[in-house]
């Protein structure tokens, strides 16, 4: 019996129809590991393979469903896939059509997280030396977050209260779902290129770990690392750590905390302004006092006062000198007086007239004392006694006087 040939198209249609009869294939939950995940950049459809230790099946997730994904599918991630299996007639490919997908338990998410973290850390993306300091008083801050999210509201509230002078530039993005990764990367780059922002804040309010999963994206991590503007991450709550937190220049525990960390406190600065004002008052007051004192020093009153003081001082000096001089003079006079008395006593003892009183006489010729051995006979001499004078004529001069006699007596 000759068998009728059929076309490939017909074959595939048969197979497809046969498969569609199997209810089991229509409503599936399949668990497996993602391999070769690829999202078509134009259509947004996602293509990948789901596999386990022995087998593998192609899987497709259309853009509409993919946009609802709460996490970024990663190579090797274990997932639960919801959908149906069917044949793609053109290729004769048996594949899974995925409506929804979620990581199967935290174990696989954690594994993917740890792997990426280790890889980026080794590449130096978390290097503290690469981290940039935040400007203390930014005038413009860029924010990458959802326009409708609670995170933005929290940030606006805190910044409005703390530092209303700051200008905010919002890059509105989805913070979950398939488009989130792309939009967040674009948001960071757009704010950086805009050039006005001095800080870029990437924020998202709290959510499940899966909700926050997009912030573990390698592409976002690399965009954050490459960003030349200091970048602050503020994702979820205090306990949530994402890859972005490690790469960011500063990690804030929550969006509100990020807002606090990014801007100074107005109240504090108002107090500082008051300090400045007081400080300034004190300075000028002191300066005025200083000048006033200087001026007072130079006034006529003070000059007179100073003169009087000086005068009194001089007077006192003079008095002291006078006393001293008096003392000295007195001492000198006393000394000289006693010297004089001594000299007078000596003089007195040597006075020849004193001798005359004892009965002796003195011979004078021509008004001066004459020596007897020089007298000449016939010469007139004056004999002076204690109470009288006599004029005498020398009869004879004979050698040998009293001194010879005294010598003889002795």
């Amino acid at each position: 019996m000759k068998q009728q040939a059929i076309t490939v198209t017909v074959l595939n249609r048969y197979a497809r129809q046969a498969l569609q009869q199997v209810d089991l294939l229509q409503n599936l939950v399949v668990c497996g590991e993602i391999a070769g995940f690829n999202r078509h950049y134009k259509s947004g459809h996602c293509y990948f393979a789901l596999r386990d230790a022995q087998s593998s099946i192609k899987a497709v997730m259309f853009a509409r469903q993919a946009s609802l994904l709460g996490f970024q599918p990663q190579e090797g991630m274990e997932v639960l896939v919801y959908g149906h299996a069917d044949l793609f007639e053109r290729d004769g490919a048996f594949q899974l059509y995925v409506d929804y997908m979620r990581p199967s338990g935290m174990g696989s998410l954690q594994k993917a997280f740890d792997q990426l973290k280790a890889k980026l850390e080794q590449e130096g993306l978390f290097d503290p030396a690469h981290k940039k300091r935040l400007p203390p008083m930014p005038q413009t801050i860029g924010i990458v977050t959802s326009k409708t999210g609670a995170a933005l509201q929290d940030i606006l509230n805190v910044m409005g209260r703390r530092w209303p002078g700051v200008k905010l530039i919002l890059a509105p993005v989805s913070v979950q779902g398939q488009a989130a990764e792309e939009e967040i990367v674009k948001g960071i780059r757009a704010l950086e290129q805009d050039g006005r922002s001095q800080i870029i804040l990437v924020a998202r309010g709290g959510g499940s770990r899966e909700d926050l999963w997009v912030f573990n994206s390698e592409r976002i991590a690399r965009a954050a690392y490459a960003c030349t503007v200091p970048l602050v991450s503020a994702v979820g709550h205090e306990i949530d750590y994402t890859i972005l937190d490690y790469v960011a220049d500063l990690r804030a525990p929550t969006p509100s905390a990020a807002a606090e960390l990014c801007v100074p406190d107005r109240e504090e600065w108002l107090r500082k302004m008051q300090d400045f004002r007081n400080n300034m008052q004190n300075s000028i007051q002191k300066k005025l006092e200083l000048c006033y004192n200087k001026m007072k020093e130079l006034s006529p009153e003070s000059a007179r006062e100073m003169n009087r003081a000086r005068l009194e001082q001089r007077q006192e000096q003079l008095k002291q000198l006078g006393l001293l001089a008096g003392e000295r003079i007195e001492r000198i006079v006393t000394e000289k007086e006693s010297q004089l008395a001594a000299a007078a006593a000596v003089a007195h003892s040597l006075n020849p007239y004193q001798v005359l009183a004892r009965g002796y006489a003195m011979v004078e010729t021509d008004g001066s004392v004459a020596q007897v051995e020089k007298l000449e006979p016939g010469q007139t001499v004056e004999l002076i006694g204690h109470k009288a004078r006599a004029w005498c004529r020398v009869e004879e001069v004979k050698k040998g006087g009293v001194s010879d006699e005294a010598t003889q007596i002795l």
Partner: protein
């Protein structure tokens, strides 16, 4: 006085003024001038803190020119 461009600049200039004002060798004439300027700066900075309202602007990601085509 030249108006500062920002609160930060105002504060920086204020600090400078106070330093000069505190120096002993600053003349009274200069001190008075600096004092007047510092008072202006304080008023400016105070106004910055009191009067400003938060400004929020949005950038359109669709229109943003982005370097390089994404992979």
């Amino acid at each position: 006085m030249k108006q500062p461009k920002s609160f930060e600049e105002g504060i920086a200039r204020l600090k400078e003024s106070l330093d000069v004002l505190g120096q002993e060798n600053t003349s009274l004439n200069d001190s008075v001038k600096i004092y007047a300027e510092a008072a202006e700066l304080i008023r400016y900075c105070h106004d910055c803190l009191e009067k400003h309202k938060l400004q929020v602007e949005e950038i359109d990601l669709q229109l943003a020119r982005l370097g390089g085509q994404e992979e």
